[in-house]
């Protein structure tokens, strides 16, 4: 099957700044694909290159097998939902949604009919005579979606589409977007800096930083087996314990503790163990390490989150966070209690720079 988007060796430079640095990326047809990274990582530039709003400096960019490198945006079978929606303020809702079809030369009756159907699809029926400034943020967001989808794009690009909405509305729209995508079966390429949003919605995620593509994978792969230190740190919360690879199954921590952890790095490589707070457990000092390892420390502080408790544990050389579900009748630890941090085998991931 032909990939929806095939990016090969693409680099984008703005004068001296390298915004996107030699990336390869394949986005399958019908996939919900998120591009995740901190601001300035190149994710939006990559999206704009797919849209045709920027042209790659080097490399090849294909949409359904057709090379589109320097094709202008109006000649591409993709549509974009812009970050601040970019609705035309001088047109009403119907004219906004019908704009693409009008430019394509679709006959007026059909344009109106299809635009109305798209407005209905995003649940704004009856509002087609309103101007964008008469709509709320959430409604504007839906108009932007309808305006793009009405053209039946082969790939829909979304540039931080939920960034301007408040939390409640954002969570609602996340669900709607996901089910819309499933119903339409069209590829959605979604740019976000919100890792939780990416994990919730996507089939696959690409993590970018400083113009480089660090890892592409399912949410689970990215969370469980981060490709490097940055990904481990950026996706979710984690404790990074510095150490050195001893052999294929052992890592020696800074304080000399030998930990069972599989990695394919050469012996002597400086690595870090990524230990998620919810994967670590606290036990008494005399508890036997359950194959993983145990590191002794002292409770330094407790944060009450409602559904969970987060203990800050001071080790000899650093502090780690351990998260406990807030169960009834569970023994609470207090600051100053001596503890041993333990974890199940396979609970840690080994990451290099």
């Amino acid at each position: 099957m032909t990939a929806a988007v095939e990016i090969t060796g693409v680099t984008k430079r703005f004068d001296d700044v390298v915004a996107v640095d030699d990336i390869d990326l394949t986005i399958a047809d019908g996939e919900f694909f998120a591009m995740l990274g901190p601001s300035g990582c190149g994710k939006t530039t990559t999206l704009r290159m797919i849209a045709g709003l920027e042209f790659p400096t080097e490399g090849s960019l294909q949409i359904f097998g057709e090379e589109v490198g320097t094709l202008p945006p109006n000649k591409r079978p993709v549509n974009t939902v812009f970050q601040n929606y970019a609705l035309f303020p001088h047109m009403n809702l119907l004219e906004n949604v019908g704009f693409g079809l009008k430019m394509k030369g679709v006959a007026k009756p059909e344009t109106t009919q299809r635009a109305l159907a798209a407005i209905e699809l995003v649940q704004l029926g009856g509002m087609e005579k309103r101007r964008p400034n008469q709509l709320s943020g959430g409604q504007q967001q839906r108009v932007a979606l309808a305006r793009a989808l009405v053209n039946e794009p082969k790939v829909l690009l979304l540039d931080e589409p939920l960034g301007a909405l408040d939390l409640k509305l954002r969570q609602e729209m996340q669900g709607e977007l996901k089910s819309l995508q499933r119903d339409l079966g069209v590829s959605f390429v979604f740019v976000t800096h919100d890792q939780e949003e990416a994990l919730t919605m996507s089939d696959r995620i690409a993590v970018m930083d400083q113009g480089k593509l660090l890892q592409v994978g399912t949410p689970e792969e990215i969370y469980e087996r981060p490709a490097n230190r940055f990904v481990a740190d950026f996706i979710g919360q984690t404790n990074l314990l510095e150490g050195t690879v001893a052999d294929a199954t052992t890592v020696v921590l800074e304080n000399g503790t030998r930990v069972a952890a599989a990695s394919d790095h050469a012996a002597g490589t400086k690595v870090a163990l990524s230990l998620r707070p919810e994967r670590a457990n606290l036990a008494t000092r005399d508890a036997a390490p359950s194959d993983g390892a145990g590191i002794d420390g002292t409770v330094a502080g407790i944060t009450y989150l409602g559904n969970a408790l987060v203990y800050r544990v001071a080790l000899d050389w650093m502090e780690v966070e351990v998260r406990d579900e807030n169960r009834p009748n569970a023994d609470r630890l207090n600051a100053g209690d001596p503890v041993r941090v333990i974890w199940e085998p396979g609970a840690v991931a080994v990451v290099a720079e």
């Binding site: 849209a51 045709g52 709003l53 202008p72 945006p73 109006n74 993709v78 549509n79 974009t80 812009f82 970050q83 601040n84 970019a86 609705l87 035309f88 303020p89 001088h90 704009f99 693409g100 430019m103 394509k104 101007r131 400034n133 305006r147 793009a148 053209n151």
Partner: protein, 275 residues
Amino acid sequence: MAGNAQQLRGNTRWVLSLNAVLVYVFFYAPIALLILYSFSDDQLVGRWGGFTLDWYRAFGQNDEVQNALSVSIRVALISTLLSVVLGTMAALSLERFRFRGNRIFDALLYLPVIIPDVTMAVMMLIFFTSLDDIIGLQVTKGFTTITLSHVAFSISFVSIVVRARLAGMSETLEEAAQDLYASRWQAFRFVTLPLILPGIVGGALLALTLSLDDVVITQFVAGPGSTTLPVYVFGLIRRGVSPLINAVSVVMLAASVLLVVLSLVAQRARGGSVT
């Protein structure tokens, strides 16, 4: 205490009202007098001699006045059209593209707004003379030179007004249009142009008014047989004043007011912000 404060507020209000009245008197008394004396049946400009429409009749019949009026209107229309096109293009290029010398061009564009009319007038005069001297292009002083000079100063005003409008308009809108299959031209035609139109109309009316009003520059570059109405009026004063001036001035005033009202209506009709 409370009574005192109230008293003070009362005084302030009274003084401010008086001030407002004085300002309006200061503004409008001369205009009222001008209009009044334009209907006065007396050979002297500032003396009331009974009601008459003779001066307006003279205005309608005087060939020189008619000729000057016709030149004024043609110069204003043509120079406005040219400066709107050029000024809008300048505004678009400065606001939407980054090119070498961008900032210098930007600064230079404002120059005609700042420099005195007389300087501008001398510059234009020298320019037309040296066209002949240097490249042998003969430009007869008259309609063409007046029009070109008016274009020269109007461009700045038009582009300032249009740029203000463009600056408030997100570039993403044009990108969105192109993303929705519009060519660059269509994006301009259906998105950019309607959104900056109030600016363009405002700039055009400004250019029209400036052209109709200008005396100094026009006087320097005008030739025999082609003179605009304000320059003609100015000439009349030197030759000995007749109340015809009053009538001519009232007509010009009425035209200016009409333009201002039109521009306000145009702005309101388009209404709304561009964000």
